[in-house]
Structure formats: C-alpha cells, structure tokens
C-alpha cells in the first residue's frame, strides 16, 4: 500500500479531513446508490464474525486479503483464569469456532485468549500500530469509531458487512453528512475527556448526530493525549454518529512511530509526508457546525438508561416538566429502572460496584488517573471493584509503572483483559438492582447484567466512588 502516491482528493480546495480520506478510498459508485469503499484495516472479534465466515463457506469463497484483518477474542471471554479452559460450553464453542475460522481461512493476525497481543479490539489496534492516519477501518462493533482519534474513517458494521469485507475488502456505504464539533478553551481541574464526551452526548441526545460523521476540533481537543482523543472518538456512536475523527498531529505521529505494524524507514517518511496533509482545509464546508466552551463542562454522571441522560455530578435529575411530552413515558420508565426520582440529586448516593475498563477507558492513562486518586487511600467496604485492563500490554505497563502496587495497597485487585462488565457477556455481571459506577460507554437496561443499574462516569469519578462508596465529586 502506497498511500502517498494517490491522486489529490477530488474534494480539491476546501475539502474536509473526512472528504480527503473518503475520496481516496472510493473504488466505484453505484448509480443512485452507495459508494464502494476500500477498507485498509478490518478488526474482527468472536461474537459478530462466525456467521460471516459461514457465509463465505456457503458461497465457496476465500478471504480476499487475509493480512488486512486482525482477529482478537475479547467480548465473550473470562477475566480470570484465562489459562484454564473456558467453563461456559456455549462461550467455549464460540471461541473454538473463532479459532477454527482463523485456521481454515489462513488468517495470519490471530490473537486468541492468552496471546501477548490479545485484548479489547479497539485497544490492541492502536497499540500495535495497526491503526494509522488516513486509513479506512471497520469492525463488527460500533465503537470502532475509537480509531478516528488517529485521523481515520473508522466505523462499526454489521455481520453481513463483515462478510463483504472478508470476501472483497470493500463495503457499500452511503456517504454520510459531515459535522464539526469544536471545543474552545481548556477543561477545568478534574474534568476529563470522558466528561467532555458525556457532556456533548447529553447536549446532542443519543440520536443527535445520526447520519453524520463528526470531526472534533478546538483547543481542548488539541490539548488531549492520544488516549484521551480515543475516549472522545469512541463515544461518537453514543450520539448516533457514524464515526468521529480528529486530524492527526505531532502527538499522533509520535504515538504511531515505532509500533510493530507501523511503517518503517523510507516508507515511514513517505507516509508521514502524506499524513501531514490530512486536515480540513480552511473554508471547507460542513453540513453542521457546533461549538462548545470546554470551561462549561463539569465532571459528569448519567442518571438514566441511555448515555444521553447525563448531568454534572452536582446537578439534579431533570423534572418531568423539563421533558418533552413524547419522551415522558421513556423518561419515567428509565428513572423507574434506575430507582431514581425526577428532580433528585445523586451526589452522596451509595453505590455497590465500580468498573474500570472497556475500550472507552481501559487504557494506561485511565489506570494512571485511577491509581493516582486512590494512592494512600482505602477502597470502601461496600464496593466491589472490577479493574480490567484493555489488553495484556496495558496490564504489563500497569505493573511496570508500579501502579499495581498502589492499587493493591488501596485494596484493589486487577483482573485479566477483555470487554468484561462493559457488556456482561461473561460472568462479570452486576446483580439486579445494584448500582455500578462504570467507565464504560452504555447504561442501557441490562447492559451490565439483567436488572443492573449503570452510572457512566470518568475513571476519576469512578475512583472517588470506589473510595467513598458513594457518588462523589472528585474535586471536593
């Protein structure tokens, strides 16, 4: 692949970052229909792929470009005793099927349970250098938007589309509209990338960006580390966006440089020159522009059963008359599920579980923030804490940086990598009626176990809750 030799994007002058990458990947356009888009990197996991491989078998097809698919087992895996056979026979069958598919189709990049490169798909992609600026990236998982932090077009697809990519390295997509969301100014003390994202989703609602591809811009975004940018892009899907992206800069290049699958030597120089052109031109038009002031953002928590139902940690839940009429049934159903009252404050409320992990907040920085807060303190007795690193590499770094000692000292244990309580397909389920302060991305009914009540928050807010046993403002 030699991306620097491409003809200039047909967007020409005044093209957005999105236009430039999209136009460079168009193979053909169906008349009055979608675009046939070439995919540079496909990530694949055990839950949304078996039916796609079966589809290939039924059609007698091979995988077209096996080296462009990276496979990791993460969704349906235990987070303890990974060296033992998986107990649940149905889960074991799914993992065995995944391995069989990798073998039958000669897939070279297969990272099963226990492999040093194994971990949550959106964590291992960037950390091994698979994710590079200017790419198109897909995965049968909606949080594929995470990779947009590197200036890529990355989005989630269904299993039929997984089959298309395996068979042809292409998919058919309707060109989405574009939106730019700018965050001016700086985030306050104790306010993190997660809070910025939850704030944005609460303003836009869960469907507010449906049909759009979002570019994030502004001082607050520029100031973020790659880990923080990944958190923001990761949550794009929670406001319905097809994906989110951030123009690559020196931080991006530094992050990618030297990683195992990153370009090397002369190829690196060529790619770098191309990557530096990947930004929205001055005067380029977006279908929609929104601007926020980063200084307005507080540490956030959610009070309901979708990620748009968020508020500042010291705020009160809206009252019924603040909700439009068509939404009241859903609002009341939601509060009823959570066991909360309209108009109520949540600060000081007792909680039962804390989950640190997921592709949203399972990276090294998230563990640093958590460890830094709990250092020298003790975990509250009423709290069960699940600390789940996003990958084995993150796990190793936690040890190397001495964070594990700090966490152990404060009464925490660490589990093994995987999606874990983010979607609770394995045994990491929050019991019915219990409250979990979770650094993951979805607070849907039953997401963390049937009847489980999820309060989404940043790793910092989660750390404060783990220590006090209550919803606590970490700035206090």
């Amino acid at each position: 692949m030699n991306t620097n030799e491409q003809t200039p994007p047909s967007g020409g002058q005044g093209a957005t970052l999105f236009d430039k990458i999209w136009d460079a990947h168009v193979v053909s356009s169906v008349e009055n229909g979608p675009t046939q888009l070439y995919i540079d990197r496909h990530f694949c996991h055990e839950v949304t792929s078996p039916q796609a491989f079966n589809g290939l078998r039924a059609r007698g097809l091979k995988v077209f470009r096996p080296d462009k698919t990276t496979m990791t087992a993460d969704h349906n895996t235990p987070t303890i005793d990974q060296d033992q056979p998986v107990k649940d026979p149905i889960s074991r069958n799914q993992l065995d099927t995944f391995a069989r598919n990798a073998a039958d189709f000669n897939m070279p990049l297969f990272y099963p349970l226990g492999h040093e490169k194994n971990g949550v798909v959106h964590i291992i992609g960037p950390e091994n250098g698979f994710t590079q600026p200017g790419m198109t990236i897909v995965c049968g998982d909606s949080h594929t938007s995470t990779h947009g932090a590197f200036g890529t077009i990355a989005f989630g697809i269904g299993t039929s589309e997984v089959e298309m990519v395996l068979a042809t390295q292409c998919i058919l997509q309707t060109r989405p509209k574009t939106m730019r969301i700018t965050f001016n100014g700086k985030l306050g003390e104790g306010v993190t990338a997660k809070d910025l994202a939850l704030y944005m989703i609460s303003k836009l609602t869960t469907g507010g960006a449906t049909g759009y591809f979002v570019e994030y811009a502004g001082e607050a975004i520029r100031n973020m580390s790659m880990e923080e940018r990944m958190t923001v892009c990761n949550l794009s899907i929670e406001m319905g966006a097809r994906g989110g992206m951030i123009a690559p800069d020196e931080k991006t290049f530094m992050y990618v440089n030297g990683r195992e699958f990153a370009p090397k030597g002369e190829e690196w120089e060529q790619k770098l020159a191309y990557w530096k052109t990947l930004k929205t031109d001055e005067g380029a038009k977006f279908d929609k522009e929104l601007v926020f002031d980063a200084a307005d953002i507080q540490p956030m928590i959610t009070y309901g059963t979708n990620p748009g139902m968020g508020m500042g940690i010291t705020d009160s839940i809206p009252t019924l008359d603040q909700i439009d009429e068509a939404g009241r049934i859903s609002f009341e159903k939601s509060l009823n599920y959570m066991g909360f009252q309209a108009g109520e404050k949540l600060e000081g409320k007792q909680i039962d579980y804390v989950f640190l992990g997921s592709c949203t907040n399972g990276r090294i920085e998230d563990f640093r923030i958590f460890a830094n807060y709990v250092k020298g303190k003790k975990k509250a007795d009423n709290v069960t804490a699940w600390l789940v690193p996003g990958s084995w590499k993150v796990e190793q770094q936690i040890r190397e940086e001495g964070l594990l000692d700090i966490l152990t000292e404060a009464g925490f244990k660490m589990r093994q990598p995987g999606c874990s309580a983010c979607l609770a397909m394995n045994d990491d389920k929050v019991p019915a009626g219990k409250y979990a302060v979770s650094t993951s991305n979805r607070n849907f009914e039953g997401r963390q176990g049937p009847g489980a009540r999820t309060i989404l928050a940043s790793p910092l807010v989660a750390a404060a809750a783990a220590i006090s046993g209550r919803i606590t403002d970490p700035r206090a």
């Binding site: 009055n32 799914q94 998982d141 042809t168 319905g240 859903s330 979805r442 009914e445």
Partner: protein, 194 residues
C-alpha cells in the same frame, strides 16, 4: 434474500423511544455461531420473567396484537452494531419496522436481512399509536415500489425514503455481496493504482 413488494398487516405497537439493541437482543444471547433462533429472544428482558415465563404486560405477550409490522417510538435500534438485532426482528416474523427515526447501523443491518425500515413523520406515528389503541386490528399497507405507507384506519398515506439501490435489492431479493463480488477486477485495479 426474499423479495419485498407490498405488505398489508396488523401491527405490533411499541410506543417507547430509543429502543436500543441491548433491549432488542441482550448481549448474553450473542453466543450463537449461526443466525437461527434469535426471534425467540427478541426483547427478552421485557418479554420474559426471570423464570422464563412471559410477562403479561409486554406487547408481544398480548394476544390482541399481532402482525408482521412493528411500530416503534423514535430512534429505534440505537447502540451496538450487532446484526443479531436484525436477525431477532426477522426471526420473530417482522418484515417492516415503522418509526419516526432509526439508528444508522440498525437501518443497514435490517436492509441486509430483508427487513424494511420505514421512516414516517412524528404525526403519522402518533396517529398510528392512537388508532391501534382504539382498534387493535388496525392495518398498515407498505408499498415499496411506490414508497408509500398507508394507515388503513384513516386512509392517510405518506411517502417514505429509501436509497434507490437498496430498493432494487429488496424488490429483487439481491444482496450487497453479490454486487461486490462482481467488482473484483475493479478492486484489484484500485489496489494496484494506489
């Protein structure tokens, strides 16, 4: 894939907004390695008690309502990309989902499984909910060729949008993979040229 032309059916009303894919098919049912049987667990946590007995107050357990058209509140199918949600809807026997707004990925997944998402105005939607409240046997007619949906209680009709290519696919029962496979030469040429 089965062809879709027109459909007249009674409806199953679900006047809840933001029905997410974790409600359509909870994650613990995603352990299967084939596409069959998901219909039995459609809306599982709303539909069944812990012991597996049906919850009487959920619409799928109410014999008053039946049919192959699901009518749901706005922003249906938000959340995960799991195509299992579309398999569950199709597996249960729904051929059409009507709402005033759909999440993107769900809409794609539905179309790839021969389920037609029909976007109607908020007024049309609330009239349908009102009509089915008065008479549970109200029918809707969906005509794909003419892109119309009709509330047969009032006779009111609305046009709906669908991508021209996707419409052809549904009318002819073709899928995207057939199309892409026919373009292999172009794909190889693209790879060489870049």
């Amino acid at each position: 894939m089965e062809k879709f032309l027109t459909l007249t059916s009674t409806i199953v009303p679900l006047p809840i907004e933001n029905v997410d894919t974790d409600q359509i098919i909870p994650a613990r049912f995603l352990k299967a390695t084939d596409k069959n049987g998901f219909g039995d667990n459609l809306f599982a946590d709303w539909r069944y008690n812990k012991d597996g007995s049906p919850k009487a107050d959920f619409v799928l357990n109410n014999s008053l309502y039946s049919g192959s058209i699901l009518v749901a509140g706005k922003n249906f199918g938000s959340g995960s990309s799991r195509e299992h949600a579309a398999w569950a809807i199709a597996g249960y026997g729904f051929k059409v989902v009507v709402s005033s707004f759909f999440a993107d990925i769900f809409q794609n997944n539905a179309l790839n499984n021969g389920v037609l998402p029909v976007v109607v105005s908020a007024e049309f939607l609330s009239e349908v909910f009102n009509a089915v409240n008065t008479d549970s046997k109200v029918t809707l007619t969906v005509d794909l060729q003419n892109q119309t949906v009709t509330n047969n209680a009032s006779g009111k009709s609305e046009n709906f949008e669908i991508n021209a290519y996707k419409k052809e696919c549904l009318l002819n029962g073709l899928d995207d993979i057939d199309y892409l496979l026919s373009k292999r030469d172009m794909i190889e040429a693209y790879e060489v040229a870049r």
